[in-house]
């Protein structure tokens, strides 16, 4: 059995080597300039796969003399100096069949080696951003997705696709933002490792993972706007062994994005087009129609008074509205500001070149048309990718320029429409948009409430947009000193210039009630502009050594980076003429304001070393250490040390495992390490002064201390522990399981000080947070027929995590108290931080339901007694909004060119405080539109056993109670993709190399066991798109 297999491998190796010798040079390099080989020349070559993508990390050695060996670099290239002529080169790498090439005088250089994938060892590489690593010898936990994977599950943006691929990568659900194309999502990887800046003076998201594009740090916005067609692969580094090389910034995980490296050859042009249709999804809304609404108002007592005069007055108002209803006025306000957004995206990519010089040029135009009229996001970008190799030296340069413009809808917020009553008419009899829809007064003398028509504003020529221009220039150089030693250096520079304007003319309904002195203040204009730049660079030494069964791979380097941001702006008022929409027409600065601005400077230095050792492909060790210093932290503890250690064991390579057929891969691994995070206010640790800019003292403008310096403020450190197992069975079933525990210590928290120090609080490293969870992915290849390129496979992945505050400071306890006393946000639970609880715990008072006699809610106090009075002290932890399980599953199939990919996403067991029930059914403002369920479920008379309190003409407040706590289970059909690949047809006669057409449906349906309004300020959308890919 074993012998047979060996023989077969040997035979196939031989065949491929032969084919490689015969076929490769003639077929692939007919256009390449050929150099005759000289006496004992250095051999320059390149290792590629059958798709002509470079293979890095392949080991090239002289057969019979393993001392002479090298590995191929990122671009697949290698350089080897054989000692004598006629040597045979052995090219090996896991996942590919080994190949032997005998050098002769006729061998053409550069030597191109095309490796065949070996069916039984398909192993990906892990792109760490500091070179590629063989997954088979890697002890870290990382998931890698290539371009095809990303495209399979969506065509919108890379963030959306990653969410559908890896359940650990979470786009926080934002019910307000909906599908606003200009809203950037909040991203979490494996749960929270830091507390939000609870005092809210810094806008950064402390839980955001680190994004890298081509090895350089990139902003979330840049990733969001990145054209998916430019991406070659995305790797998510999750545990310490994988991410600790990014040390100080890696606590929240690292997302490494690599763009496509141009392939050589005659110029190829690829075109990729997407035609997108976005349709609003209003299925979560269940609002009353005109007659129902008026009836609810009547039942609620809006038109009832004990005073006969008032009653008459109310009757008149009621009758006027009833007249509208009878006449058939029933406006569906929700659809008024909406449209079906139609837009397209085009990408053109040119690539080619010879082994010495290669180029890639791309252009993208991407317009996203949101479902609210006039809300668009347009990106135009282009990049030039050049690489040049001369002997041992390689240069690579990527220049990218992006122009972005984001327009917000002139129709305002969607929530302005969802509150409007259906018995109002948007147009007058002549078809003109009315400004005032209606009024209401509770008594003839009371102040009048007005209902304005937001549609009116859309006609005024408001402005609400932002723009940015971003230039990214990345330069790489590499020097291969000897087969074992390589030096690399990189410099990256990014500049972003941005501006945003928002103009509301005086006639806007916001100012409709401004009279008297304020009349001339109507109209507002806010303008801000800013710029940011990042300069970073690093140098690395890379050393590889292989002897007998040992392989050592070591890396050492240093990096420097500087980040600058600056913004300024002003707001002005007094625009009485709708036609002038330039800020210079303002009457004055907005009352009580002055020009504003902000600025940050941040610098950092790092020293990095990491190494990997493997013995016989069985025992694996990874270690890394990084020293980092940042200007963000106190001058006495600027340097932080981050480290990781990982161990792995390839059980399938053990002799005792080799004698069976069903287990192809069995690896267990574990890692531990520490990383830091630094999305914090860059000046938090310094003693800085501000000036009293509106006063002087004896003709001197006074300076005062802004904060208390903390010279000891140090890095917030997260210790990650991860154990995992990778399995492949029967050559078709892959499984991976990970369990992790992350402890974040030295949590940066505002620490309360006695005011006798002159300050109330300052930043301290206090508190800790624990995250524990598991994640699993599996894929099963049910059917595969390579000859017909047909297959059917299923994928599934899930993860669950719990976070727990293990220690907090008094400052947070005080914050809880302040919140309890404050009146803001009365009707929704507030975030409270308590030891032993999660950061996502929902706090509310336990409810015993609505008392059928009185219609009031009965609460349970902490001592077990009951009361009608809500008290903040009775709040308990009633649930956790993190789901117990979240995941995705999907099916991928292709048959003779026809393909289907479908992905579903789900969450299970998330506690949810249903704000829709509170705001639209129970706590309703009867002046606004309400949910239909108001009718049946609210208390109306004694004896009613109903879930909701009585409705009344004046809105009542429902304080947080567990009556509205529900458990949410949700299933989303996140992406369906059907395509046809013309590879089965003869395209040559059309001068095409390939052609692929497809249809996508994104975020088509959401099935939820609870009814909530989704998309409050901006509705959610379903996206349909047609895509076309071709190369010629």
């Amino acid at each position: 059995m074993n012998k047979k297999l060996k023989r077969r491998i040997r035979w196939s190796v031989f065949t491929f080597a032969f084919l490689g010798l015969l076929g490769a040079p003639t077929i692939l390099f007919s256009q390449v300039q050929m150099t005759p080989i000289k006496a004992i020349p250095k051999v320059l070559g390149k290792v590629i796969d059958k798709n002509k993508s470079p293979i890095s990390g392949a080991i090239i050695s002289v057969k019979g003399n393993p001392k002479i060996a090298t590995t191929s670099n990122n671009t697949g290239e290698f350089l080897l100096s054989p000692e004598k002529e006629g040597e045979t080169l052995l090219i090996t790498i896991l996942g590919y069949k080994a190949q032997e090439i005998t050098l002769t005088n006729d061998t053409k250089l550069p030597l191109i080696v095309t490796l065949e994938e070996s069916a039984d060892q398909i192993e990906e590489v892990v792109v760490t951003g500091y070179g590629n690593r063989q997954k088979s010898t890697f002890t870290g936990n990382a998931s890698t997705f290539n371009k095809e994977d990303l495209e399979r599950v969506g065509n919108r943006n890379v963030l959306q696709s990653l969410q559908n691929l890896d359940p650990s990568f979470i786009l926080a659900e934002n019910l307000n933002l909906g599908s606003n194309p200009n809203g950037l999502p909040d991203i979490l990887l494996r749960g929270k490792s830091a507390l939000d800046d609870v005092r809210g003076d810094y806008a950064g998201n402390p839980n955001q993972p680190l994004f890298l594009i081509d090895g350089f740090e990139a902003s979330l916005q840049r990733v969001y706007d990145l054209d998916m067609n430019r991406i070659a692969s995305v790797t998510i580094l999750k545990d310490a062994a994988a991410k600790a090389i990014y040390g100080a910034k890696a606590a929240n995980g690292v997302v490494v994005i690599e763009t496509i490296v141009p392939a050589e050859g005659a110029m190829r042009v690829s075109y990729n087009g997407n035609f997108n249709v976005e349709a609003p999804d209003l299925s979560s809304y269940n609002l009353t129609n005109a007659s129902e609404k008026l009836e609810i108002e009547r039942i609620a007592g809006r038109y009832t008074s004990a005073n006969p005069v008032t009653q008459q007055f109310l009757n008149e108002q009621y009758n006027a509205l009833l007249k509208n209803v009878v006449e058939g006025v029933d406006t569906y306000w929700l659809s008024q500001p909406l449209r079906t957004g139609i837009a397209s995206k085009h990408t053109l990519f040119l690539e080619g070149g010879n082994p010495a010089l290669r180029y890639g040029i791309d252009f993208t135009h991407n317009k996203v048309a949101g479902v609210m009229k006039g809300s668009d996001r347009t990106n135009n970008s282009g990049s030039i990718n050049l690489s040049y190799r001369n002997g041992k030296i390689l240069f690579r340069n990527i220049l990218n320029v992006t122009f972005n413009r984001a327009d917000n809808s002139p129709y305002g917020m969607f929530s302005e429409y969802s509150v409007l009553n259906p018995y109002f008419k948007p147009h007058d009899d002549n078809g003109n948009v009315t400004k005032l829809l209606g009024t209401f007064q509770t008594t003839p003398r009371s102040t009048m409430s007005y209902f304005f028509n937001p549609l009116y504003n859309a006609e005024l020529g408001t402005k609400d947009f932002s723009k940015y221009t971003e230039v990214t220039e990345n330069f790489y150089t590499e020097y291969q000193h000897s087969p074992n030693l390589r030096f690399t250096a990189r410099v990256g520079y990014t500049y972003n210039g941005n501006t945003a304007e928002r103009f509301l003319p005086g006639d806007h309904t916001n100012f409709a009630t401004w009279g008297g002195e304020d009349f001339y203040r109507r109209g507002s204009y806010r303008i801000t502009d800013g710029e940011s730049s990042t300069l970073s660079s690093d140098v690395f030494v890379n050393w590889t050594k292989k002897w007998k069964k040992h392989i050592v791979f070591a890396n050492g380097g240093a990096n420097l980076a500087a980040f600058l941001t600056q913004s300024h702006g002003m707001s002005a008022e007094g625009f009485l003429n709708n036609r002038v929409d330039f800020i210079s027409f303002a009457r004055q600065y907005t009352q009580g304001t002055v020009p504003f601005g902000s600025e940050t400077i941040q610098r950092e230095i790092g020293l990095i070393g990491f190494a990997n050792y493997s013995y016989d492909d069985r025992f694996l060790v990874d270690i890394s250490i990084r020293r980092n210093a940042s200007s963000v932290f106190g001058s006495d503890s600027r340097w932080g040390t981050f480290w990781s250690a990982g161990l792995g064991w390839n059980l399938h390579n053990e002799p005792f495992f080799r004698n069976q057929e069903f287990i192809d891969l069995l690896r267990i691994r574990g890692s531990i390490g520490s990383t830091g995070s630094q999305n914090f206010n860059p000046y938090q640790a310094m003693a800085t002064y501000n000036f009293f800019n509106s006063s002087t003292y004896d003709n001197i403008s006074g300076a005062y201390l802004y904060s208390l310096a903390n010279d000891n403020l140090k890095w917030q450190q997260t210790v990650d522990q991860n154990v995992g197992i990778d399995i492949r069975l029967f050559k078709r079933w892959n499984m991976q399981f990970n369990y992790f525990v992350n402890n974040t210590n030295n949590l940066l928290i505002d620490f309360t000080l006695p005011p006798s120090t002159g300050f109330y609080s300052y930043k301290e490293n206090i508190g800790s947070l624990q995250n524990r969870g598991f994640e699993a992915t599996t894929s099963y290849l049910a059917y595969s027929n390579p000859e017909q390129q047909s297959f059917l496979s299923f994928t599934a992945a899930f993860m669950g995590n719990q976070n727990k505050i293990t220690k907090i400071a008094d400052a947070l306890r005080q914050l809880n108290e302040e919140q309890d006393n404050s009146n803001a946000n009365l009707n929704a639970p507030k975030t409270r931080y308590e030891e032993g609880q999660s950061t996502s715990t929902i706090w509310a008072v336990p409810s015993l339901g609505i008392d059928p006699i009185t219609g009031q809610e009965l609460f349970q106090k902490k001592d077990g007694s009951t009361t009608y009075v809500w008290s903040a002290d009775d709040q308990i932890a009633v649930g956790v909004s993190d789901p117990t399980l979240r995941g995705n599953f999907g099916v991928n199939m292709e048959y003779k060119g026809w393909g289907l990919n479908a992905t579903m996403r789900y969450i299970l067991g998330a506690d949810y405080y249903n704000a829709t029930l509170v705001n639209r059914i129970e706590n309703v403002n009867i002046a606004n539109n309400v949910d239909k369920r108001v009718f049946e479920n609210t208390w109306q008379q004694p004896g009613d056993v109903v879930p909701f309190k009585r409705i009344s003409p004046t809105p009542t407040t429902t304080r947080p109670t567990d009556r509205f706590l529900q458990q949410k289970n949700e299933l989303t059909l996140s992406s369906v993709n059907v395509y046809y690949d013309f590879k089965w047809k003869n395209l040559k006669k059309y001068h095409l190399q390939n052609l692929k057409c497809g249809v996508y449906v994104n975020e088509a349906f959401v099935f939820s066991n609870i009814t909530i309004e989704r998309g409050l300020d901006y509705p959610f959308a379903r996206t349909f798109s047609f895509s076309l890919q071709t190369t010629f």
């Binding site: 400077i601 610098r603 210093a629 600027r638 005062y704 208390l708 000080l753 120090t757």
Partner: protein
């Protein structure tokens, strides 16, 4: 040898790289200024000092609460303080919500000023950036400020010195740090205050107001011209007099007050200046006043007749009563205006109203230490030593346009109290006057001030919560 030099060179270069790295990481923000950058110039120290004075001028300190608002209510100076905002305060209910808030603001803002002062004092010896005598003057002022602020904190939060000198009082904070400073007793606090003041006085011997050096606008942009709005040499001397009296060291109090008067640098305002509303606040009498840039507009909201809001005022009857029906008194004549309509019977204090003169000398000044207090300290000394106090009372009465006394008053204390009230109305000193005497009953008041511990504000809750404090009452 070669090896050693190689090691040496690499060690040197490592060190230099390391230090230059640290320098590179020391970023200088643009929207804020690092203290190391601010204090690179003398101007920075002046700005930091001006910052401390500006903090003191805050509405919750000498801009309002510690002068005419809260302190006015506590000493029962006002007939009316409309609205509910001061009702609990008037009943000395310091644990009620609003009084708690006012008191906490006093505490936290005063200590904010202290921490700003301490940073100046911590840095002043590190940066040799001063011209002429400015090092001594700025340091002297900063030390005096620290003492001054702590003394008023002690007058608010400390027990009476004569009665319970060993009662824990306030922390005397001398460092800009997050570490809490231990509470001192009343007498320990006084000792520290006096230490700072005596050092300040020594340094301020270079003060132009003392040396007589003429400073002009050409001279350093006129810095050191307006010494009365800084804690100058005489202000420190006057403050010493005030403190010595407070702790019952009459001889020292006399010497200090006498030295101020004999210095002859201050004079009472004239009738002409008062009647023309050029100098309502008495600028020439100020040993130390705070320059509060918007004092006129702000005080108008609380003191002047006209606009809505909380108004502190006197009834006409009370005004007459305060001034012993002596309608010739310049203070009676020129410092009040009448209301109209429902407020026709109310009289509104004009002390802080806008001057009719353009001269900034008369504008935006909140008196903190005045010449009259020095005369009253001399009078107190005379009373204590059983000598003639009349010349001192008469000096003030003469300046205010009222008849001089020929015979000593029968009840020195009652007379002193009414004289004091006339002089200091709306300045916040009257409450401390009662406190110094630990007087059980006060004019217009019905509370037993001593039994109710009304003279001692409780430390704010936030201080108890975050620091290890014992009760000060």
């Amino acid at each position: 040898m070669k090896k050693i030099s190689l090691i040496f060179i690499s060690a040197i270069s490592t060190i230099s790289v390391y230090t230059s790295c640290n320098k590179w990481l020391d970023v200088q923000p643009n929207s804020q200024i690092r203290d190391s950058e601010l204090f690179e110039t003398e101007q920075g120290f002046k700005e930091a000092l001006a910052g401390v004075y500006t903090i003191l001028g805050n509405q919750s300190l000498y801009g309002g609460q510690l002068t005419y608002q809260m302190m006015g209510v506590l000493s029962k100076e006002w007939s009316n303080y409309s609205g509910l905002n001061y009702d609990d305060m008037a009943n000395y209910d310091y644990v009620a919500t609003l009084p708690q808030q006012y008191i906490e603001n006093v505490w936290s803002n005063m200590y904010q000023a202290v921490s700003n002062t301490n940073n100046i004092l911590a840095k002043i010896d590190q940066y040799p950036v001063f011209r002429g005598d400015n090092y001594a003057i700025i340091k002297g002022e900063a030390l005096a400020l620290r003492a001054f602020i702590h003394f008023d904190l002690l007058r608010c939060f400390g027990a009476n010195y004569m009665v319970s000198p060993n009662q824990p009082a306030i922390p005397y904070v001398t460092r800009y740090t997050s570490k809490q400073t231990n509470q001192s007793t009343v007498s320990e606090t006084i000792t520290q205050i006096l230490d700072d003041l005596i050092e300040a006085k020594k340094l301020l011997e270079k003060d132009p107001i003392f040396t007589g050096r003429v400073v002009t606008q050409l001279d350093d942009n006129g810095y050191l011209i307006n010494r009365q709005v800084h804690l100058n040499y005489y202000a420190v001397e006057g403050l010493l007099a005030r403190i010595y009296l407070y702790i019952g060291q009459y001889d020292n109090a006399y010497a200090s007050a006498k030295s101020v008067i004999d210095g002859n640098k201050f004079s009472f305002t004239t009738q002409a200046n008062a009647s023309s509303q050029t100098d309502l606040v008495g600028a020439s009498e100020h040993l130390f006043a705070l320059n509060i840039f918007d004092l006129a507009q702000r005080s108008q909201m609380f003191l002047e007749y006209g606009t809505d809001g909380i108004k502190f005022n006197l009834t006409q009857t009370q005004r007459l009563n305060y001034f012993d029906n002596d309608t010739d008194d310049y203070r009676y004549l020129y410092l009040f205006e009448g209301g109209a309509g429902a407020d026709a019977n109310n009289r509104y204090l004009l002390k802080y109203s806008e001057s009719t003169s353009d001269d900034i000398y008369y504008q935006s000044k909140m008196p903190i230490i005045k010449l009259a207090e020095m005369y009253y300290i001399l009078a107190e000394y005379a009373n204590h030593t059983q000598t003639d106090a009349l010349p001192y009372f008469n000096a003030v009465r003469r300046a205010r346009g009222i008849s001089e006394l020929s015979t000593a008053p029968v009840d020195f204390r009652a007379f002193m109290t009414t004289e004091f009230r006339k002089e200091f109305i709306g300045e916040g000193q009257f409450f401390y006057y009662y406190k110094r005497l630990n007087q059980q009953a006060i004019l217009n008041g019905s509370h037993d001030m001593v039994a109710e511990k009304a003279y001692i504000f409780p430390l704010p809750d936030s201080e108890y919560e975050a620091a290890n404090r014992v009760s000060n009452r």
